[in-house]
Amino acid sequence: MLAYLIRRVGQALLVIAAMATIVFLSIYAVGNPVDILANPNADAKEMAEISARLGLDKPLWEQFGLFVWNALHGDLGRSFVFNEPALKLIIQRMPATLELAFVALIMSIVIGIPLGVWAGLKPDAWSSRTIMSGSILGFSLPNFWIGLMLILLFAVQLKWLPSGGRGPTTNLFGIPVSFLSWEGLRYLLLPAFTLALYKAALVIRLSRSGTREAVLQDYVRFARAKGLSPTRIVLVHVLKNIMIPVVTILGLELGSMIAFAVVTETVFAYPGMGKLLIDSIGRLDRPVIVAYLMMVVVIFVVINLIVDLLYAALDPRVRLQESEG
C-alpha cells in the first residue's frame, strides 16, 4: 500500500507540475497587459516603467523560473489590477463559490434521486419517459441560457427572487456564508438551481439504472416475500444500494461543478472565483488567471487522488494491478 501511495502521489505532483508549465506558458506567451493597464496617453518610457515594475521586461524563461520559485513558496504573484496577492484574491472569493457548489450538489441529489428512482421503478410509464426526456434536456441545453430564462421568469416577471449578486452573509467559524439567513438563501436559490440542473440530470440517469438493477436482486425479492411494504423496500433497501455509486460520482463531479460555476457566476453576477476569472481574462490580469487555474488543477488532482487511494484501500486488486502494469 505504501509503494502504491508514493507512486500515486508522485503522479499527482507530476500532473500539477505539467499543468503549471502549460498554464504559465499559454497565459504568458500572448498579449501585453501593459496596453490595457497603462493610461492611453502614456509614452514609451511610462510603458517601459510599468513593464519593469510588473517584471514583464524579463525574458520568458526567467519569468517562468521566478514563477516556479515563488509558487513553491506559496506565492502565485500579485494581481496587476488590484495590486494584491493573486492567491489572496482567490481565497477571499472561494467561500462564495464553494457554498454555491455545495448547495447545488444538495439540490441535484434532492431533485435527481426521487425522479430517478421513480423512473427506475416504472420504466414504461409516461411520467418516467417525461423525466428521462427532461434529463436529456438538462444534459444538452446550454446552462447559461437556462439561467437567463430563470432570471427572466423569477426576477423580472414574477419579482420573487433577486436577479443576481450575493445576499447578506453571516460568519460561520470565521467564514462568511449566506445560507444561514433566509435573505441570503434567496440570493442562492436561482444560481444554485441552474448549476444543479446538469448534475441532477446525471443523478437521474444513475439512480434510474441503479434502481432497475436493484429491483431484480434477491434481497428485494426476499424483502417482498417477507411482506415488507413497497415503500419500505424502496426507501430502505433499494435507496441504500443506489446511494453508493451516486455519491461516488458526485464526489468526483464536485471539481467540475466548481469549474462550471464560472458560467453560473457570470450569469448571476455572483461574486465568486469564477466571476473573478472571467473579469481577469478581460483585463489580462495574468497572475490571477494563473492562480485560479492552478487552484482548480490542485482541487481536481486532490479529488482524483483521494478517490483512487480510497479505492485502493478498499479493493486490493487495484493496487496489485497498478504494481504489475
Binding site: 499559454s26 446550454p142 441560457w145 432570471i151 469549474a259 464560472v262 481574462i281 488543477v297
Partner: protein
C-alpha cells in the same frame, strides 16, 4: 425493428437498409426534416434574411430596442424585434445560426479526423505508444471541457478560427477513446488477420480495413458532439472569450441581450436562445436515432 436481420438481402445495400431503418420511426422524419431545414437556413441566410444585420448602412439607430412586431421608420416589420443598434433580430438570428453551426460542424469534423486517427493508431500499435496516448486522453478528460477551452481562448484571444482550434483540442480525446475502444475489439477479428497475412502496408490496414469498421459508433459520437460543440461555443461567446463582436454567433447575441433582460426587453436574448436550443435538441434527436440504428446493442 431492433431485430432487423444483419444478413444482406440481395439487391439491397447495407446503406439503404440503414436508411430505411432510420426512418422506421415517424418522429425521425420530423427531427431529420428540421435538421435539414436548419442547415438550409444557415447556408442560405444571406439570401433569406430581411436585412444584412452587419451592414451598418441598413441599420437605423432610431429603430433600436423595438419589441417584436413593431414597424421600422421606413415601414418594414421587425417580427422578432430589434437590438440596441436597431438590428432586426430575425436577420441577426439567421446569421448567428450560420456562424454557430459552422463552428460546431467544422470543429467536430477536424476533431473527429484527428482523434480517430490517433485512436486507431494507438490501438494498432499497442504497448508504450498506446498507454501514453490513453494516459493523455484520460488526463484531458478528467478536466471539464469548458475549463480547457477557457484557458486556450484566454491565451489565443477572440476569433472564429481560434474558437474552432480550441474546440478541436477540447474534443479530439473523445474520438480517440471511442475509436480505440472499438479498434481493440476489431483488431482481433479474422479480416484483420487476413489483411495482415496478405502483408498489406500498415497504412492500408489501418485506414482501409480497421478504421471503416470503427466508423458507426464514431458517427454517433460525432453527431452528438456537434450539439455539444455548439453549446460550448455559445457559452464561451457568452462569457466574452469566443467569437468577436463583428461576427456574432447565437451565444454572442444572447450576451448582447443580457444587459437588457433586467429592464424587461426579453426578446434580444430569448429568440436567439430558442434558436440555439432548437438546433441543439434537433441534433441530439437525430443523434439518438442514429445510435438506435447503428448500434443496436446500446439501444434502450
Amino acid at each position: 425493428m431492433t431485430d432487423a436481420p444483419f444478413i444482406l438481402d440481395r439487391g439491397e445495400s447495407l446503406w439503404r437498409q440503414r436508411v430505411s431503418q432510420f426512418f422506421a420511426k415517424p418522429s425521425a422524419y420530423i427531427s431529420f426534416g428540421l435538421l435539414v431545414l436548419l442547415l438550409l437556413i444557415a447556408v442560405f441566410a444571406p439570401w433569406i434574411a430581411p436585412q444584412n444585420p452587419y451592414d451598418l448602412a441598413q441599420l437605423d439607430i432610431m429603430d433600436g430596442r423595438l419589441p417584436p412586431g413593431s414597424k421600422s421608420m421606413d415601414g418594414k416589420t421587425f417580427w422578432l424585434g430589434t437590438d440596441e443598434q436597431g438590428r432586426d433580430m430575425l436577420s441577426a438570428i439567421l446569421y448567428g445560426l450560420r456562424i454557430s453551426l459552422f463552428v460546431g460542424v467544422v470543429s467536430t469534423f477536424f476533431a473527429c479526423i484527428i482523434g480517430a486517427s490517433i485512436g486507431v493508431f494507438a490501438a494498432y500499435k499497442g504497448g508504450k505508444v498506446e498507454s501514453f496516448v490513453m494516459r493523455l486522453v484520460d488526463l484531458q478528460l478528467s478536466f471539464p471541457a469548458i475549463l480547457i477551452a477557457l484557458v486556450l481562448l484566454a491565451a489565443f484571444g477572440r476569433g472564429i478560427d481560434k474558437v474552432i482550434i480550441a474546440l478541436i483540442i477540447v474534443q479530439w480525446a473523445y474520438y480517440a477513446r471511442t475509436v480505440r475502444g472499438n479498434a481493440l475489439v476489431e483488431r482481433n477479428r479474422d479480416y484483420m488477420e487476413a489483411a495482415r497475412s496478405l502483408a498489406l502496408p500498415r497504412s492500408r490496414i489501418l485506414f482501409s480495413h480497421l478504421l471503416p469498421n470503427c466508423l458507426p459508433p464514431l458517427i454517433v459520437v460525432a453527431t452528438v458532439q456537434v450539439a455539444h460543440a455548439i453549446a460550448l461555443e455559445a457559452t464561451l461567446s457568452f462569457l466574452g472569450v469566443g467569437v468577436p463582436v463583428t461576427e456574432p454567433s447565437l451565444g454572442m447575441l444572447i450576451k448582447n441581450g443580457y444587459d437588457y433582460l433586467m429592464s424587461g426587453k426579453y426578446w434580444i436574448s430569448t429568440w436567439p436562445g430558442l434558436a440555439l436550443v432548437l438546433a441543439i435538441v434537433v441534433i441530439n434527436l437525430v443523434g439518438d436515432r442514429l445510435r438506435d440504428v447503428l448500434n443496436p446493442r446500446l439501444a434502450k
